[in-house]
């Protein structure tokens, strides 16, 4: 048994009956939709057409929302329906990032993720979904794709169909007959601040997707005539989390490497100071993560009932592990057990690398954010952690173990990590992207509303200025460069996380 949908655009008249029937059946609140009908007007008068596209969860065979969910709140049933449980959900919104189709929203009453669930509560009692029943044209066909004598299997066998974004490898089970490029490709149609009979809802969290009118991905004369807005799931806490985590995870790394290379001697005070920073910033990281949850009190579920494939759950264990080992290191350093501290140094540093890098795997599970799926990200996150470690070292006052020797090390490390960071950023934004989604997000950063944050704060203040400061003979250049680099990195994280989420996926 594999439930799926066919939307037959030969028949769909764009009447919105499905939208409303879904809302009344499932008590879907205002501001959010489980299904809606996107309108796109294309062509030039009089060769013009308005195309309609019923848009909703695809009940993917390979659902990324299920993989990323840390607590099994999103799950795939045996019959192929991708269902959800509000009771389990912690409101982390990772599923919204994982869905390449804008199908998931946070229910404003419950604060939990919700979406089309094929009216599973109806199929259980032998009824078709509400949208199927209401449709005046029987343009929405539901049923078992494996039942050869059924209408849906027969249509699928006889008609040419297409799915949304097959390149995401999600294997959607919602097929369009006569799907149109202008509507099916989310970045194809021009969006104005209003539609033909409605406003564009910009009051959704984060203001919704950004639609630059000069996007090179726009199809000529394709105009979105009706659409609904989708919240930008993650708030400022997430770029802040990336930043605090880079600091926390990289704090001990530079001295450790320098010591191996014989460029720096041991210093208990420095160990105490840096491991304190590691612990504090890792704790801050956790606070930020919890802060962005819709259900903050449910955060322990990630640990006590984890969904093991989720990098959000795995990340929680990594952060706990890192906090544990760096905590032991701190205790050993404070108590002066130098041998134990020495033995714990590299395990702590390596755990820090793990803490730094796991986010790349988490972002990799965000199938809806192609910008984040870059293979350079693991390396980049380590470079960012090292950059932060170098900056912290450069800022370390003598009272806390800072020294000329340490500052020299920091200078070289900061120079090297800044160069690597800028190289990766250059590669990231100047090289062609593998998908339109990634290219669209990258362009939002380099040419769109994030361009000032990116070029001025991220690249100039965070990269070029500190490089110049470090290369030029400026007194006290290192701490200033360190502060610039840290601020620049924060701006970069902001652009990277926010632009990634500002791409329309529907």
């Amino acid at each position: 048994m594999r439930y799926g949908f066919i939307i037959d655009n030969r028949k769909c008249i764009g009447c919105h009956a499905c939208t409303v029937a879904c809302k009344t059946e499932n008590h879907v609140p205002l501001t959010v939709n489980r299904t809606w009908v996107k309108y796109v007007e294309k062509g030039t008068y009089p060769n013009t057409r308005r195309v309609f596209q019923v848009t909703r969860c695809n009940h993917c065979e390979n659902p990324p929302c299920v993989t990323i969910c840390p607590v099994t709140a999103m799950y795939q049933r045996k019959d192929g329906i991708v269902d959800f449980s509000s009771e389990r959900c912690i409101g982390c919104k990772a599923c919204m990032q994982a869905c390449p189709y804008d199908s998931i929203y946070i229910d404003p009453d419950e604060g939990t993720a919700a979406k089309c669930h094929y009216c599973a509560h109806r199929t259980e009692v032998g009824l078709e979904p509400a949208c199927v029943v209401v449709c005046p044209e029987h343009a929405i066909i539901a049923g078992d794709l494996d039942a050869c004598d059924g209408e849906i299997a027969q249509l699928l066998a006889r008609e040419p169909v297409r799915v949304r974004k097959p390149e995401q490898n999600t294997r959607p089970k919602l097929y369009y007959i006569d799907g149109d490029e202008s509507a099916i490709v989310p970045t194809a149609a021009r969006h104005e601040p209003m539609y033909m009979w409605s406003q564009r809802n910009e009051s959704v969290h984060g203001g919704g997707a950004i639609y630059p009118t000069d996007s090179p991905l726009l199809q000529k004369n394709a105009l979105a005539a009706y659409d609904v807005s989708h919240a930008r799931p993650w708030g400022w806490q997430v770029p802040a989390y990336c930043w605090t985590k880079a600091i926390g995870s990289g704090a001990l790394a530079i001295p450790a490497i320098a010591m191996v290379l014989g460029r720096l001697g041991a210093d208990r005070m420095r160990d105490v100071a840096l491991s304190t920073i590691a612990l504090l910033f890792t704790a801050l990281t956790t606070v930020l993560l919890v802060w962005d949850l819709e259900h903050k009190m449910r955060f322990l579920r990630v640990v006590f009932m984890p969904q093991k494939r989720s990098w959000l759950a795995r990340g929680a264990f990594i952060l706990i592990g890192y906090s544990g080992v760096s905590g032991l290191f701190w205790i050993a350093s404070v108590l002066g057990f130098s041998a134990i501290a020495f033995g714990l140094l590299w395990p702590t540093v390596l755990a820090g690398f793990l803490a730094a890098v796991y986010t790349a795997f988490l972002f990799g599970q965000c199938e809806g954010r192609d910008l984040w799926q870059t293979p350079l990200l693991p390396v980049h996150l380590i470079v960012q952690a090292l950059l932060c470690g170098a900056a912290v070292l450069a800022l370390l006052p003598a009272a806390l173990g800072g020294s000329d020797e340490a500052r020299d090390v920091a200078k070289i490390a900061l120079l090297a990590s800044l160069v690597f960071h800028l190289l990766i950023v250059f590669a990231e934004f100047m090289m062609p992207h593998s998908t339109d989604n990634a290219a669209y997000a990258a362009r939002l950063i380099t040419h769109g509303p994030f361009k000032n944050w990116f070029w001025i704060a991220g690249v100039l203040v965070g990269g070029i200025l500190p490089l110049l400061l470090l290369c030029a003979p400026v007194p006290e250049g290192e701490p200033i460069a360190a502060v610039f680099a840290l601020m620049g990195l924060l701006a970069f994280e902001w652009c990277f996380v926010m632009a990634g989420q500002s791409v329309p996926n529907s």
Binding site: I13, A21, Y45, E192
Partner: protein, 950 residues
């Protein structure tokens, strides 16, 4: 009866089986995936939004006793269990926190916005006394019932005739009078019933895939036809959703549709692709008189030649010049129509007919195509509404009234199909009469009619309107100017019996007050439906019965007897009595079907909500006259069979058959009626240049072209401040999910649409100075202006702008007695005599109410009211208000704000007079007010048709 509702090969059902309707167990959607069982009772009723009358199934939660949701009723033959967006949204309307729950009486001056609760007894006493006095004093015509979309059949005609008054007013001539005239001149029936499902070619001059008369049932069958291989062509200047689905979109310049249709007829005639035997047999070609040619004594072939000669000027090239549709497309479609032959279906409703002066000509021209292809009465062709609609008779029908109300059917428009309702304020201004008691019933003329400020002026004048009750489920712009607002129920809170011509069959649908029905089933008894409805929301059937008793308490006036039970003599009629009697006696096949299930006919209708009466509906004109019909009849030389002075049939190939309801009993290619009633130039289908034709636009700025003829078209006189380019505004398109002012209380519908920008083609956007979507535009009409945003779109012909008439609601109170999610709070001011200004003070914003969701209303726009800036445009023949507006469009200035409106009603009266001057008044032949053969709602007795000699 065991009924399962499953599609072939599916194990899922589209509705629970009938045997489980009394206790259907579903799992709670919100609790899911926890399995929480909900027990429902499923009760059928009928939607009360648009006119389609689709079948709803109310899911009543047994735990709360309240309706939880509405789905489609699969037993309903027209809607077949499927609905448009407005069907499920009925639950929003029931649960609307701003709805009217109790009868309300005004507490201050009319229109001051102060209300106090009153009782139904007080309402009945007040109105009963006033109406009784008026009737007894011979002023019965001062009592007027004015209905929006009725949502029921015959019961009001019966009520008013029982009162003996000519007091029925309707909204029809702002809606469809012109299309009706075009159709009725051909075949008496005034509406088409296309058999889309079986057609090979479908031509729509309407937007039936998103709106229209009858949206959901027709949209289903159009797509059924298309999937079975029919081609679809749409003629519309605007890219409707329907046009989007078409194989051919013909964006005609508005008002030129008849030119295109006649060019198609010419192609079919010239290429001899017409059905000669049908035309010979079923049209009155023998009566043709045209261009000096008379058919008398002439052969059929000679008549065809005369027709060809007459239509010779309608070359496809001429049609292209007028309409902008390419000549080769016109020829191609004409040939496809001819190829489809008897399986050519079409629909024309509103749009070109309602927009244009002479809008009845496109309907006549379209019918010519059906006549030429022989696709009248055929499977897959054009059928008559009367053949596909079933209105059963009740237990006793009062005699027709003796009087003729000139406020309804004034002498200037003897051929108007319906009441000249939108001119009422002007008639009262002219001193033609007054109104003692006025019922506006789910009817909002201040907002939906043109010239709303003239309505406000009329309604607030207590000398003109003595007592005004708004019967309405919701507050409205008209209700605020009433003395009483009387809450009437929605779809699941009232009784009505309905039928529409939705497909090749006849059916009836039964609307019922679901809570009352269920509680009575459980043993409770209610005297009145308002006792079981929310608050004291009543239903009209009972209201009129009780009011009739209040008018004639002792039966001395002869009114009460029509409202006494046919089963319990002398006792008050109940709704069960009324419909029970109809179902027992007047619906063929229903008693037998009910009996098979062990039910009474009334029980059957309460259980299933609908009944299909017959599928034998084609070619009713060919039905033989029975021996009984023929007894005492005579055959005239023309072949018309007459009995008692009335035509009852016609001889066709020597057989007496029923024929059509026209004087010739045939399809009237040639209308002698038009000649008799002073319009000899329109005896045949012709092309009438509309009031917004380019030549009329030229005339408005002093440059009339050679096509402009002031005998047929009034000259627009622009107000001094009207500047900008001259355009034609298309102001009448519906949105698929709204229905005029009935749907402002449905949050899920308003969330989808809440704005009505001005559509502008990019070519015009450049011409107007680089207009971009969202720019503020000022649109000047002949009597004022309105200010709104632009929507620049390729989906509209250049030279034309468009704006939906579904949005732009406003309210005078900020918070109370208003629908807050769908209206802007405005400052309404009369700045000089007849000079009205409206400015939006506050747009829509979230608010506290019994529905926590209203805190989440995210849209801030409710649109801009355009109709109120339109003058009245009565078509001189059909009486239709010709909606399209000649406007001047410019970019708004810095003084203009979104939603600003200005109107001078002095100008609107002047426009009324200019249009009135085009009409050619009664009397007609023999001193008639109106041709006897033309239908009239609530038809008076024949003597009333004759004007009294002065």
């Amino acid at each position: 009866m065991s009924k399962e509702f499953k599609r072939d090969g599916s194990h899922l059902a589209y509705c629970p089986p009938v045997e489980k309707w009394d206790d259907w167990v579903e799992l709670d959607a919100e609790a899911w995936p926890k399995r929480v069982e909900r027990h429902y009772q499923l009760v059928p009723t009928v939607c009360f939004n648009c006119e389609s009358a689709c079948g709803l199934l109310a899911y009543v939660d047994k735990a709360t006793g309240q309706v939880a949701k509405f789905e489609g009723n699969p037993m309903h033959p027209a809607s077949r269990g499927r609905l448009c967006a407005k069907g499920p949204a009925t639950i929003n309307q029931i649960q609307d926190p701003d709805r009217v729950l109790y009868p309300m009486k005004r507490a201050g001056a009319r229109g001051a916005g102060k209300w106090t609760r009153t009782s139904w007894d007080e309402v009945l006493e007040t109105f009963g006394t006033r109406i009784r006095k008026a009737i007894l004093e011979g002023r019965g015509e001062e009592v007027m019932y004015h209905v929006g979309r009725p949502g029921h059949d015959f019961i009001m005609e019966r009520t008013l005739q029982a009162w003996g008054i000519d007091g029925h007013n309707s909204h029809t001539n702002v809606c469809s009078s012109s299309a009706r005239l075009g159709y009725l001149l051909w075949h008496y029936a005034d509406r088409p019933s296309p058999d889309h499902a079986n057609a090979r070619f479908i031509l729509l001059l309407s937007a039936h895939l998103e709106s229209g008369h009858y949206f959901n049932p027709h949209a289903q069958r159009i797509i059924d036809g298309k999937m079975a291989g029919a081609k679809l062509a749409v003629m519309d200047p605007r890219l409707s959703n329907t046009a989007s689905m078409a194989d051919y979109w013909m964006p005609t310049y508005p008002g030129t549709e008849a030119a295109v249709l006649l060019a198609m007829a010419k192609v079919i005639l010239d290429e001899k692709r017409f059905d000669a035997s049908f035309v010979r047999k079923w049209t009155n070609w023998e009566e043709l008189e045209v261009d000096g040619f008379s058919a008398q004594g002439q052969s059929f072939e000679a008549v065809i030649e005369a027709l060809k000669k007459h239509y010779a000027k309608f070359t496809p090239q001429f049609a292209e010049k007028e309409s902008g549709v390419r000549a080769e497309v016109i020829v191609k479609i004409a040939r496809e129509i001819a190829t489809a032959g008897s399986r050519f279906a079409s629909h024309l409703w509103r749009g070109s007919a309602s927009g244009n002066l002479g809008g009845w000509q496109p309907a006549r021209a379209l019918m010519l195509l059906h006549v030429l292809t022989g696709s009248v009465g055929t499977e897959g062709g054009h059928n008559l509404n009367a053949w596909n609609k079933f209105v059963p008779r009740p237990f006793s029908v009062p005699p027709p009234q003796k009087k003729w109300n000139e406020l309804l059917y004034p002498r200037e428009w003897p051929l108007c199909t319906h009441e000249m309702s939108f001119l009422l304020p002007h008639f009262l201004k002219e001193g033609r009469g007054r109104i003692e008691a006025y019922f506006t019933r789910v009817f909002n003329p201040v907002w939906t009619y043109p010239d709303g400020f003239s309505w406000i002026e009329m309604l607030r004048d207590e000398d003109k309107v003595g007592l005004h009750a708004a019967l309405s489920p919701t507050w409205s712009e008209t209700a605020w100017f009433a003395d009483y607002v009387l809450p009437m129920g929605f779809s699941s809170e009232r009784h009505d019996l309905m039928s529409q011509e939705s497909y090749a069959g006849k059916w009836i649908g039964f609307r019922q007050p679901v809570n009352r029905v269920l509680r009575e089933r459980a043993g409770e008894k209610f005297e009145y439906t308002y006792q079981a409805n929310p608050g004291e929301v009543w239903e009209e059937d009972e209201f009129w019965i009780d009011l009739s008793w209040a008018i004639d308490p002792d039966g001395a006036m002869g009114i009460r007897r029509y409202f006494e039970s046919p089963y319990r003599p002398g006792q008050k009629l109940t709704v069960d009595d009324y419909y029970g009697w109809i179902f027992d006696h007047s619906v063929p096949g229903l008693p037998e079907t009910a009996k098979k299930e062990g039910l009474t006919p009334l029980e059957y209708m309460r259980k299933y909500g609908a009944f299909e009466v017959t599928r034998d509906v084609y070619k009713q004109n060919e039905k033989a006259l029975s021996a009984g019909d023929l007894a005492g009849s005579s055959v005239e030389a023309s072949g018309v069979v007459k009995k008692d002075g009335k035509a009852i049939g016609v001889m066709i190939e020597d057989k007496p058959v029923v024929g059509y309801g026209t004087p010739s009993r045939k399809l009237e290619l040639f209308s002698k009626t038009m000649a008799d009633w002073k319009w000899p130039e329109f005896t045949l289908p012709e092309y009438y240049r509309s009031h917004i034709h380019r030549s009329a636009q030229g005339a408005s700025v002093g440059q009339p072209g050679e096509d402009f003829d002031p005998e047929y078209t009034p000259v627009v006189e622009w107000p001094k401040e009207a500047r900008g380019e001259v355009y034609t505004l298309l102001p009448i398109f519906r949105l698929p999910n709204l229905i005029h002012t009935r749907s402002g209380n449905a949050k899920f519908l308003y969330e989808i649409s809440h704005k009505n920008p001005l559509w502008v083609n990019p070519v015009d956007a450049r011409k107007l100075g680089g207009v971009r979507t969202g720019d503020l535009m000022k649109v000047h009409t002949e009597i004022g202006f309105f200010v709104l945003h632009a929507w620049v779109t390729e989906g509209l012909a250049p030279g034309v702008v468009a704006c939906s008439h579904h949005l732009g609601r406003w309210r005078v109170n900020k918070d109370d007695q208003v629908e807050r999610m769908s209206s802007a709070w405005v400052d309404l001011k009369e700045v000089g005599k007849g000079q009205w200004k409206m400015r939006q003070l506050e747009t829509v914003s979230p608010y506290e109410s019994l529905d926590p969701e209203t805190k989440r209303v995210w849209w801030s726009d409710a649109g801009v009211h355009q109709d109120i800036t339109f003058p009245v445009h009565p078509d001189p023949i059909s009486g239709m208000h010709c909606w399209h507006q000649m406007v001047r469009v410019e970019k708004a200035s810095t003084d203009d704000r979104y939603g600003d409106i200005f109107v001078d009603t002095n100008l609107s009266h002047a426009v009324y007079l200019r249009w009135k001057a085009l009409a050619r008044p009664a009397p007609g032949p023999g001193g008639l007010r109106r041709p006897l053969w033309i239908p009239r709602v609530v038809r008076p007795e024949e003597s009333a048709f004759y004007m009294k000699k002065a």
